[in-house]
Structures are given as C-alpha cells and as structure tokens.
Symmetry: none
Subunit: 529 residues, 2 copies
Amino acid sequence: MSYVYLLDTTLRDGTQGEGVSLTVADKLKIAEKLDDLGVAYIEGGFPGANPKDEEFFRAAKSLHLKHAKLTAFGSTRRPGVRVEDDASVRAVLDASTPVVAIVGKAWDFHVTEALRIDLDENLAMIRDTVQYLKQHGREVIFDAEHFFDGFKRNRAYALATVRAAWEAGVDWVALCDTNGGSMPHEIHEMVTQVIQEVPVQVGIHTHNDCELAVANSLAAVQAGARMVHGTINGIGERCGNANLASIIPNLELKLGYPCLPSRDHLRLLTPVARFVGEVCNLVAHSYQPFVGHSAFAHKGGIHVSAIQRDPETYEHIPPELVGNERRVLLSELSGVSNVLAQAQAFGIPTEGRETELRRLLERIKQMEHMGYQFEGAEASQELLFRRVLNDFTPPFKVLAVRVDTDVQRQGEATSQAIIKLEVDGEIVHTVSEGNGPVNALDAVLRKALAPHRPEIRRMHLTDYKVRVLDEKDATAARVRVLIESTDGEHVWRTVGVSENVIAASWEALVDSIQYYLALVVPSQALVEA
Amino acid sequence: MSYVYLLDTTLRDGTQGEGVSLTVADKLKIAEKLDDLGVAYIEGGFPGANPKDEEFFRAAKSLHLKHAKLTAFGSTRRPGVRVEDDASVRAVLDASTPVVAIVGKAWDFHVTEALRIDLDENLAMIRDTVQYLKQHGREVIFDAEHFFDGFKRNRAYALATVRAAWEAGVDWVALCDTNGGSMPHEIHEMVTQVIQEVPVQVGIHTHNDCELAVANSLAAVQAGARMVHGTINGIGERCGNANLASIIPNLELKLGYPCLPSRDHLRLLTPVARFVGEVCNLVAHSYQPFVGHSAFAHKGGIHVSAIQRDPETYEHIPPELVGNERRVLLSELSGVSNVLAQAQAFGIPTEGRETELRRLLERIKQMEHMGYQFEGAEASQELLFRRVLNDFTPPFKVLAVRVDTDVQRQGEATSQAIIKLEVDGEIVHTVSEGNGPVNALDAVLRKALAPHRPEIRRMHLTDYKVRVLDEKDATAARVRVLIESTDGEHVWRTVGVSENVIAASWEALVDSIQYYLALVVPSQALVEA
C-alpha cells in the first residue's frame, strides 16, 4: 500500500489546547522524540503570530533530525497587500524551514463574513502566497480551512480554492475539518470528489468535536488522502486534534498503510506518547487506546484465564507492537517470584529467605497502596529491598529536620532549613537557606555532609516532580515527589510520599544522597582500584 | 428516520473499567439520571455473578422510571446443564426486570478453545436460554460476543449463532466488537450482511481500543442497526465502551436518528455526563466532546473575534443544545479583543479604557511567561482583571506569613503557620497547625478570618494540584499551584506561581478566599435581598 505522510502539529495546533503551554526547551525535546518516532513532518509553530515560536525555529536549527522535516505554519497574505510586503509571510520564510504550511479560507461564508473581502481576492491570496513560497524553494502545504463545511455550502468555491493552490504549484492541499463537525461518510465522499476533480496530493486535518477525528482521518486515507495531520494524544483546541497515537497503529496494523520508517518505530509509540503527556502536563488518560496504562489491562475472572491461555481471546493486538504491555489487575503483584528475581538482580543473597521475601512483598504492596510508585524510582526500590533484607548500612542518620519559610510579597519567600545528623559517629548540626523549602533542605544536607563525604559535590539533582494524589482531599491530600539525580555519569531516581510535601521531598532527597554515597561511590571506587 | 434504542451499560460493563467501583446507592442515583436523560434500556448489573448487583435489582424496584426499561445481564446456560437448572439463568430471572440481556459465544475459536465444547452445543445453549427467558415473559437481547472477529474467521458459524437466537424468538441480537479491534468500514459491511441474512432486530456493542467505538456504532446504525450499547463518558474495561455522551448528539443532531424522547432531553446530556463522572470518580476529560469543560472553549485570537461575530464560524453546534456553554480563554495567543470580551463578561466597565486593557493584556502575557495559567483558574483571572482595572477592594490585607515544619520519622511531619492580617482596620495575629504546610496555612487563614467573616465556614477547598515548571532546575524550579474551592453551590479555581511551593500555595489560597468573600458572598446577598 502507498505510504501515508504524518504531519505532527503537537507543537503548533496542539498548544491551542486548554492547559497546554510549552517552553522553547519543551518544544525542542518533543521535536526530538517525534523525530525518533519517525513522523514525516513536524509543524513547530506560527512564527508570524508568536515570538516564542520564532525563538523555537532559531533554536531548532541545531537539531539533527533523522526523519522529520521541520515545518513553519503561517497564513496566506493579507487582503490588499503584495505578498512580498506581508510581514506574516516574511516571518514564515525567516523561520528557514524546508517546509511551510499556510492556512487560507475555503468556505465562502468566512471570506465574505469574517475577512469581508471579495471571493476572487481570496483566490488571489492563495495563489500569490503559494507561488511566492515556491519561488523561495519551500515545500508548500495549503491548509484549506473549513474545507468540508465550505464544500457542503458552496462546492464550486471550495474546489476553486484547492485548484488555485494547485495551479500555483502547491505540494499538498490539506483539507481541514476545522470545527470538527463532519461525519466519516461525508469526509470519505468529499475527499473522493476532490481527488477526482483536482490532481493534487491531498492531506487531511481533523478535530475531535464529535469523537470522530480518528475515524475521519482513516476515512480520508481510504478515499485517497496521503497526508494526515494530528497531535500526540490528540491534544488541541476544544476537544483536540486527531490523535496520532491512535491513527498510527490503525494505519500500520489495521489498514496496512505504512506511515513510519519501519515497524520497529511503532514500538516507540507508547514511550513517546507518555513523554509528550508528561511535558504537556496532560497525563494521558490511563484508558487511552494503544498507549494507555489500562489499554491492555485485564480485570480478573474469565478474561484473565482466557488471556493466559491465548492473548488473542481478549486482545485486538499484541501490546508489545506499540511498546505497551499487558497487565493483569489484582493478581499482578502477588508473585513472590517477581520479588525474588528483582532481589537477585540487585545482587542481594536470597537463599533460604522465603519468609523475608514475603514480608518485603507485603511491604511493597502496602507502600504502593499509600501512593509509592517504584517504576521510575529504581534507586528507592533498591534501597527498600536492601533495608528490609538487612543489606544496607546508611551512610548517615537523620536526627532532626526543621524548615521555616517566610512569605514576603506575593509569590516571594525565603526558606531556612536546620538539620541534625549523625555521620561517622559525630553529631552535625547545620543550617542553610534556599529560595524554597526543598531547595533549602538540599543545601543544608550538602553543607552538613561535605566535610565528611566530599564526593557529594560531584552529584546534583536534575529533576524534581510533585504529584498530588487523592486530589479531592485538597491540601490534606498525600503528595508523591520524584527526584532525579546525577554525578555526570550515573542517573538515578528516588521517590517520597507523605501528606506533607516537605516530608515527601525530604524522603526522596535522603534516598538520593544515601543511594549515591552507599551504592554508587563504592562501586566506582572498586572500578578505580 | 427510524428511532434508535439506547442501551446504557454504565452500571454493568462500565464498572469493569479500571478504577470504577460503585455502591448500590451510587447505582440507583445514576439509574435515575439515565432515566431523566431518556435512554430506552438501563443495564443494571450481572446478578448471577455479583451479589451487589442482586441487591441493586431488589432496591431498583422502588425506582419509578419514566422512560427506561431495567435490564439484567446474564449468560447463556452452561454446557451440559438443563436451562431450568442453571443457577446463573435463575439469578437473571430473579432480578425481575422486564428485559434480560444474555451473552453467548459467536466466534468458533472461543467455543472450541475457551469453552472447549462442541459447536452445536453452543447453538443449543443460545436457543434454550432465549426460549426459556421468552417463556418467562421477558424481552430478550442476545449479546453475540466477539461477533465481528468470529465473522471474519468463520462467517457461517457467526451467522448461525444469530439465527439460533432469532429462531428461539429473541427480540434483539446485539453484535459485539468485544476486543474493540474492528474498523468502521468492516462493521458497516458485516452489519449489512447480517441484516440481509437474518430478519432480526440488530444492535451494536463496541469497545474503544482503536479510538473508533463511536464511529463503529454510527457505522452500524447507518447499516441498519437500531439498538446501540454504550456507557456515559465511555467508561469500561481497557479503553472503555462506546461513549453514549458522543453517540447521542451525533445520532440526534448530525445523522438525524432520534434516540431520546425529545430534543429537550438532549440538554440534560452535559449535566448527566458530569454527574456520572463525579459519582464514578473518573472526572471527565475537560476536552471530552460535547460535554467537556473545554468542548466549546476558544483560545486563538482570530477564532475569538470570529466567534463574536457569528458562532457558526468556529462551532459545529450551538453548545446549549447539549446543555454545555461557550467559553473564551485568555492566553499568550490572545489579543485585546479577548481581554475586552472577558472584561465585559465579568461586568467590568470598559468604555474608553483601551490603554488600561492593553496594559492588562501585557500583564497577563508577562504572568503567563512566568508560568501562570488562567485557564482553569478563572477566579484568579477575574481578580487580576479587577485589580488592574481598579475594580476591587480586598476584604483583608496580608502583613506577614511564616510556616515552620518539623519532619519526624520518614514521611511524617507537622507544620505550624503564623500569619498577621489586617481585617476591618484591625490587626489579627494568629497561629494554627496542619499535617502539611499548606494545610496549616488554610487552617490559620480561616481561624483568623472567622470572627470577622463567619461566612468563610461555608466554603472549603476541594482540589489542590502542584506542577513543577522548568523541572530541570530541580528543587530551585518554579512551581504552579492550582486550587479548587466550593461553598456547595459555586465552584471556583485559583492559581499561584513561585520558586517557593509555600508562597505559590499561599497566593492561590488568598485568591480563593478573597474571591469568595468579595465576589461570591456579596452576589448571594444580592439575590437573597
């Protein structure tokens, strides 16, 4: 089957979603992941409208993309202005991307009512802009805004806009269901007609207002469209854009249209979707198709025993194909064999310790019930194993911890942390300050330990995340803190849970530093010796 | 067009969803709401498998349903057992519902591999069970499990199961896409063939594993199915069932198939969907189609000015039709037109205040750059507007704030907050404690204000979220805190941003309480007067 080209617009249309706000650094990280996944085009922003996007395109020049072509989004020239004098068209060129997408009106009602111009002037705007961008060597996509709504009201005019773009030499015309109100059978019918009337390469751009964006995109491909616009996890304005995290596996696995460089790339789908969800702070619904935590979760009973006999009984695809995994709820953690295998992986002696391993398993279940999560906090997990199995000597003991915070003006405060530790048999009582309570704790812990364990200067924290559990308990809810640390060579992650954010942070902080001093440094010494 | 009968299975298949657990009281409340909405059938549970469901059907006898027929779910008789001796079939009859749905196998692979019985015995099980239930005066629905997967592998056998049910006198055969792996064009084709082959009334039951459950349900209706199974908000096992909250408006408004008693009932869709989300503790995604908080929220500057001229420009349906409402968002992408529209919506005078509005817009952009986010924090947004446009008298002034935290054992700590306020010209100096620093701040603020503004006892915080911005700066990063509050009648949300989590929380907390005292309470007083 012929290849379908994916245009990911997470960084442009996706940021129109409520609650989505990305820094330039976020956007660069996402662009790299999208390129790893293997999408054909990455629409990075709207440089004419947003200075932050201009900054993104400047910074993006240093990216080394393997698969994707960076695409700048803009608009047709304004009415009554020569294209070479249009600031927005200039901004799109200044982004220096190989590909440019420009949006223009395809619905006569918008031309006469929103723009309040002549129908012919709109066609000229499309033609001039496409021609000009082609003259400047760009691959050009024309986004025909409201194409389907326009086609239903004035078929001839909607087609005229497509034809104008084509005659001007456009590479692709993306037909947009801007308001997300169309039905799959309508999309199929209208795309078929466009392809019959104009010999241009057609793309599809849909929104999810009827919960049909995925179906509409597939219907368009089945009618002959060969470019699909969408966003990871379907983020975007109102109900979102078409969700590439579902479209990709449907095209690859169900309909037989390749859209990634190889089938192996499909395995990156779940990690990439979760990464984007984290960065956008819109954590994917656990029941999101293909990539959700529950997408291949089976809840007890008949399903589970059938699944164990043959996964095909209750699974439409093997979860590994999209980088996800099967989960059997309730019974999942009940195996001592899992704990045993993990202890052995840490190099902890397990011979004849059945009872202790069962106790450890109970402790893990209890902690997970409290909100701990050891996926992504392997250092805390290893410390827990070693502590319960008596295979750990803490490099210091905490005797007392206190943090005081004075709030000055709105949003400004200073914190002071005081700790009392026992290190090498000596009592250390130290104070330090920071711009926040956790920052102060980090500072005071280093200050207290540095004279005794100078190697602590080689490590630092690189990531700090807070998640409120049981959000409905408001300020009395428990919080989970995840900390990532590095010494430039190793990276490790720790977790803390408490009703008190400072206590949770302190727990993760102490784990991080104890892990480094007790487990990373000695093994390095061993290597150096 | 002919009527489409809705079977809501939120209370049965919906409860298979991960994290969904309903009490009998919850189920009764949901059943009443579903009846208000006007669905034709409410599938209440699986009495043979779940004692809680038997209790539900006993209690449900006291419900006075206006539209819906209560339906009990069961299974065909077990192999090698006479139907009158089957405990599960008895349990379904004992539920005393006018309608019974029984599931049976339609895929030969499941008959021979999962049940490990003869293909003919499976047909006899279907026939016997339908006949027996019909003899007991029930309306009977046969759920043909895995029908579409079965049809693809062994068309003749899948059709034979449908024919067996029909010959036994079944009222409906619901064709199930149990694993959720089918494509809309396949569903359309197979439903068409069933209808050509067997003159039975056909229903459709789909799952959302490919993000196509809504499209698959609509495709089946277009092929002639006249019953649709689904759940409110699409809750259910793995990726969920077909979402009735989207299917209903698509059938009523887009495809012209009536499925509710009247068009007026459609206005209950949003409140019912939100009610179900609350009770199931699976709060609907804000961007859920039709019923989500963001479903008719507009963010882009061009969109907003067009919407103000004519909503049809960027809305596929008027939101009131489904009981939802339009919202205009502010963001970095917005122009002065958004700010003006928003100020007017708040009832703040705007005549001749162009300069101030521009200043306000600059301030918003600056704050958003710092990490503020006013979407989902409309109360802080309104306070900001009123503060900048000099339309606000704060109900108290903050003079000093201090929080001390002592960490005891791992994960445990107590916090003490001390504040100095000016209220009604008086200085109030108060101390209080809490299990966390923010909890202590909340407590001390209420304690300080209660003697002066006793109405504060009527409000409380219902949600508290923390998001670390610039995570890579680790503990020195800025954090954004979002707080939701209610007085049982109104709900409002506020935001705070700082490098110090306590300062950010304090800011959101003060906004919440100032908003309540200055804007919610006075407007209530006005209504009561």
